[in-house]
């Protein structure tokens, strides 16, 4: 046993056991390993075990094919028409992933743009007469049901997203029953285009936000699918 061998961690030899038993070591390593084997009972036992396992597996009965696996023209045509489903699926999923990425980006940008438009619109609206302000509140209550849901009328009147304070006199009657006041205001017909503009702006914002959420969700699913399909 070589002097240097005393200082080599034994794990190194253990790692060579299987390669040695399988005839996969190069000549130099074979010489070194056999020199080590000369003095190491444990490794000799490991080599014997490796050889026994290999024989056990190599001599295992061969499971015969249960049927013929000949390739038919029909099989080849099926493969040709619809690309191997793994590849096709991956292609489809990648395309969907890219598309949903793009859609998510666009939708988020659109939403941000609409919010900016809304904000700049509401600042000018504050300078106008009360009708515009009322129209804004109306639109708030109509198009932002989630804000209004469960909120007390008093809280509702404070929860104006844009943070501009609505005129007090309009608020009074609506404090008791927001929806009726809303209808009343509609009947009196605030400037139709401004009101309609506010509503459609809200709706557009909601649509953009919903699209963004859906696109992001779709992207996440597609990403997961494509990751699995990668080799």
């Amino acid at each position: 046993m070589s002097f240097a061998g005393l200082f080599r961690p034994h794990r190194r030899w253990r790692g060579m056991v299987d390669a040695y038993a399988d005839g996969e070591l190069d000549a130099d390593d074979v010489r070194r390993f056999e020199a080590h084997l000369g003095g190491c009972h444990a490794c000799r036992a490991q080599v014997d075990a490796a050889r026994a396992i290999r024989s056990f597996l190599a001599d295992a009965p061969v499971e015969s094919a249960p049927r013929s696996f000949r390739v038919t023209p029909a099989m080849l045509q099926a493969e040709g028409r619809a690309p191997a489903h793994a590849a096709g699926g991956a292609r489809g999923a990648f395309a969907f992933m890219r598309a949903s990425q793009a859609l998510a980006g666009v939708a988020v940008l659109a939403f941000a743009f609409l919010v900016v438009v809304d904000l700049s619109g509401s600042t000018t609206g504050d300078d106008d007469d009360g009708n515009a302000g009322a129209a804004m509140q109306t639109a708030d209550r109509m198009s932002a049901p989630d804000d209004a849901m469960g909120a007390s009328p008093a809280a509702e009147t404070e929860a104006v997203p844009e943070g501009t304070a609505p005129p007090e006199d309009i608020k009074g009657p609506s404090a008791d029953d927001g929806s009726e006041a809303t209808l009343a205001l509609r009947d009196t017909g605030p400037p139709a285009d401004e009101d309609g503009g506010r509503s459609s702006l809200r709706i557009a914002q909601l649509v953009a936000a919903a699209l963004a959420v859906l696109a992001i969700a779709g992207y996440a699913v597609a990403r997961r699918t494509t990751r699995e399909q990668r080799a």
Binding site: D18, A19, A49, I53, L57, P61, F69, P73, H85, A86
Partner: protein
């Protein structure tokens, strides 16, 4: 049906490259047992192994022009090992939709077989022995099982296995080493299986 003397592997391969499907199917006849056996040892599931085998031959035919010569059997087994992993993935994906228990054995858990064999000398049934082999292999994680099946059952060299699986030589060495370590532990609890060497009584 014994193949004609001129139907050597190389001859059949060159005919296949020219689009002779019959010639290719002669290769299928010749090697389908070896391919199916490897797929079965890797997957531990007969139906999955059959699917993987068919895909392997389809894949081989489509790729026959890229075959640069050498051992046809090794080449087919390399394709089979990869198709086995693909088949496992396909089935796992389908599982998300529903039933799954049948694939527990694919994941590497031990197969349910009859009671452990009484002892080496008493084992005469080929089928029991085969089940024992599979049970031992199923004790391994997939990557180790796949590597050991390729090398010990398929007879491939480490380098061929590394090339087949698209991993480094070091990775193959490591998988073989760890897989054999696990099998050593498995056999320690079933010492009768490795007494001397296997011998089937007549």
């Amino acid at each position: 049906m014994t193949p004609a003397p001129e139907s050597t592997d190389d001859h059949l391969v060159s005919l296949s490259k020219d689009g002779d499907l019959d010639a290719f199917n002669s290769l299928v006849d010749r090697y389908q047992d070896a391919v199916y056996n490897l797929c079965y040892r890797i997957l531990g599931h007969r139906e999955a192994a059959a699917d993987a085998t068919q895909e392997a031959f389809l894949s081989a035919y489509r790729a026959i022009r890229t075959f640069a010569g050498g051992n046809v059997r090794s080449w087919l087994l390399r394709i089979a090992a990869n198709q086995s992993k693909d088949e496992l993935r396909r089935r796992k994906r389908k599982d998300r939709a529903g039933s799954l228990d049948q694939y527990v054995d694919i994941a590497g858990a031990a197969l349910e077989v009859a009671d452990p064999a009484p002892g080496a000398a008493a084992i005469v049934e080929r089928r029991e022995l085969s089940a024992l082999v599979q049970r031992a292999l199923d004790a391994l994680p997939f990557d180790q099982r796949q590597a050991i099946a390729l090398v010990d059952i398929g007879g491939l060299r480490y380098e061929e296995a590394a090339e087949a699986l698209g991993v480094s030589l070091g990775t193959v060495k490591s998988r073989i080493h760890r897989g054999r370590d696990r099998l050593r532990g498995y056999f320690r609890s079933h010492p009768e299986l490795l007494e001397g060497h296997w011998r089937l009584d007549e």
